[in-house]
């Protein structure tokens, strides 16, 4: 049982058309990335998207254990999505939930189309996502971070994958649902896209929309995804600019290295 049931605001969009966190209908929450945060992984990335704090690590391509799972023509992708017990209002049981099992699969299926799987036959790529703080839209934030972690690992990608949830709140189509809009709104539509090709790799929907609303929502999502895509690219550039700079300055990151 959660300690408190916080009252839900009567109106999720006020008379000026602003949402409960003062955003406009087409505005993303603050979003930031950091690439290469886990030295033990082949690739890693951290994302803060609104109140979400999520870390993703990638291992591979590496040997498949047990070996019979290996595929002769392509690599096998394994994804694990885990939520910390304290990431949500009511303590989550530490045992894996059905939701976590499904989201692990959904994340794998969203990222696999972007990977040149045939470049890495008989190998395994492991993607691990840990949600430390949740605030609505964790699957989309996870995909954003995991896609950067794959790029950081040097795995050949057709494109990054960028994801956002669109929804319907008080009858209006809005971009990037927060926790309350996600729970109290009328519809939730998480999408992930390879932005260069406008190919959808994730499409889920819960709620109620007309065909027009649905297409509007998708287009609004694509607008948001362009911004996220740009930020992802900036983040990965920032990491490699740092790695190859000759400044030799001792940064906090450097001091942490102890191996």
């Amino acid at each position: 049982m959660a300690l408190f049931k916080y009252p839900v605001p009567e109106k999720l969009i006020d008379e000026n058309g602003l949402r409960i966190d003062k955003r406009k209908y087409n505005e993303l929450r603050p979003i930031s990335f950091e690439v290469g945060v886990l030295p033990q992984c082949d690739g890693s990335a951290y994302i803060e998207m609104g109140g979400n704090k999520i870390i993703a690590g990638v291992f591979g391509p590496r040997k498949v254990q047990p070996r019979h799972l290996a595929h002769p023509n392509k690599c096998v992708i394994r994804a694990l999505y885990r939520m910390a017990t304290f990431s949500v209002e009511e303590r989550k049981s530490p045992a894996p939930s059905r939701r976590e099992v499904e989201l692990s699969m959904v994340i794998r299926n969203s990222l696999e189309p972007a990977i040149f799987v045939e470049y890495y036959p008989k190998t395994l790529i492991d993607i691990v996502v840990q949600v430390l703080a949740a605030d609505g839209g964790t699957r989309c934030a996870s995909i954003n971070a995991a896609s950067l972690a794959l790029a950081d690992a040097g795995i050949a990608l057709k494109d990054l994958v960028s994801a956002v949830a669109v929804g319907k709140v008080d009858g209006k189509i809005v971009l990037d649902l927060n926790d309350i809009e996600d729970k109290e709104g009328e519809a939730d539509l998480p999408i992930a896209v390879m932005p260069q090709f406008n190919q959808f790799t994730l499409l889920q929907f819960d709620g109620n929309m007309t065909k027009e609303e649905f297409l509007n929502a998708i287009n609004l999502g694509l607008e948001g995804i362009q911004i996220i895509y740009q930020k992802q690219q900036d983040a990965i550039r920032a990491k490699f600019a740092y790695e190859y700079s000759n400044s030799g300055e001792l940064t906090e990151k450097n001091e942490r290295e102890d191996e």
């Binding site: 033990q40 990431s87 691990v128 102890d258």
Partner: protein
């Protein structure tokens, strides 16, 4: 969690290297025998947790969060609240970790951290009782290991204690024998600041804060949790090696020497 054994095997060459360095007074990463790696602590890291902390000990990284619920006390301590510690090693923490329920290593970390907290009387558990015998606060301290590079015990203890140090407890009133929570918060009262010091025996040398390479070659390790008065509150000897009385005495002295520095970092 299933271990891929090959990862545990360190080449004899490296083992001998670390041992011979130790004999000559050196460590593989250049530290002195009583030096900890760099410790960084962030607090109030998770908004929805009642308390939280993220600790870096070198490349070892642990996030701790505290969640509070209300439940029945243990029958043998009806007027005391409950604190339980859990640890989970994320598969991202090391290349050889696998997904699955906590293995014996994770359980040992959770238990050792738990005992360090329990026996230092960090919190007056009577104060966590709401209606003695019926309803008490239950504090879940959950540790997530995101980076595994040796000495989970000391990093875990730091993370758990720091998370408790910024844990907020809801106020409550009792109306007709029913507990009603008021959405106002008070900081949990901390009565002691236990720290844990892990010492590895490599050959015949004792070193504090073993990193992952040292953990693979050590003969034996011992973890002391010490309270603010430098009294020993819990001990765990680990791995299959042995200690002599002299070595135990030496280890206690080392732990007592370095623990005030750790406590200073914890309280900062």
């Amino acid at each position: 969690m299933i271990k891929v054994d090959s990862y545990k095997i360190i080449s004899d060459l490296e083992k001998r290297h670390i041992e011979s360095l130790a004999k000559r007074g050196y460590r593989i990463d250049g530290r002195g025998f009583k030096d900890y790696r760099k410790i960084t602590i962030e607090t109030d890291y998770v908004p929805k947790a009642e308390g939280s902390a993220r600790v870096f000990l070198g490349n070892t990284q642990i996030v701790a969060g505290v969640k509070i619920s209300i439940g029945a006390p243990y029958p043998d301590t009806p007027d005391a609240g409950v604190i339980t510690v859990n640890a989970e090693f994320s598969p991202m923490a090391a290349p050889h970790f696998e997904a699955g329920p906590p293995g014996e290593e994770a359980v040992e970390v959770a238990r050792v951290v738990d005992r360090g907290i329990r026996h230092s009387d960090i919190i007056d558990k009577q104060k966590l009782a709401i209606i003695p015998g019926e309803q008490v606060f239950i504090l879940f301290v959950d540790l997530y290991v995101l980076g595994y590079n040796g000495n989970m015990f000391d990093a875990g203890e730091l993370a758990a204690v720091k998370a408790l140090m910024n844990t907020k407890l809801p106020k409550y009133e009792i109306v007709d024998g029913e507990v009603k929570l008021v959405p106002e918060w008070t900081l949990l009262e901390i009565e002691d600041y236990p720290v844990s010091v892990t010492i590895a025996k490599i050959g015949n040398t004792l070193v504090v804060d073993p990193n992952a390479n040292e953990e693979r070659v050590l003969d034996s390790r011992i973890t002391f949790a010490l309270n603010s008065r430098s009294e020993i509150v819990s001990v765990q000897k680990g791995e299959a090696g042995t200690f002599t009385v002299n070595e135990i005495e030496q280890a206690i002295e080392m732990a007592q020497e370095v623990s005030p520095k750790l406590r200073e970092i914890l309280k900062a």
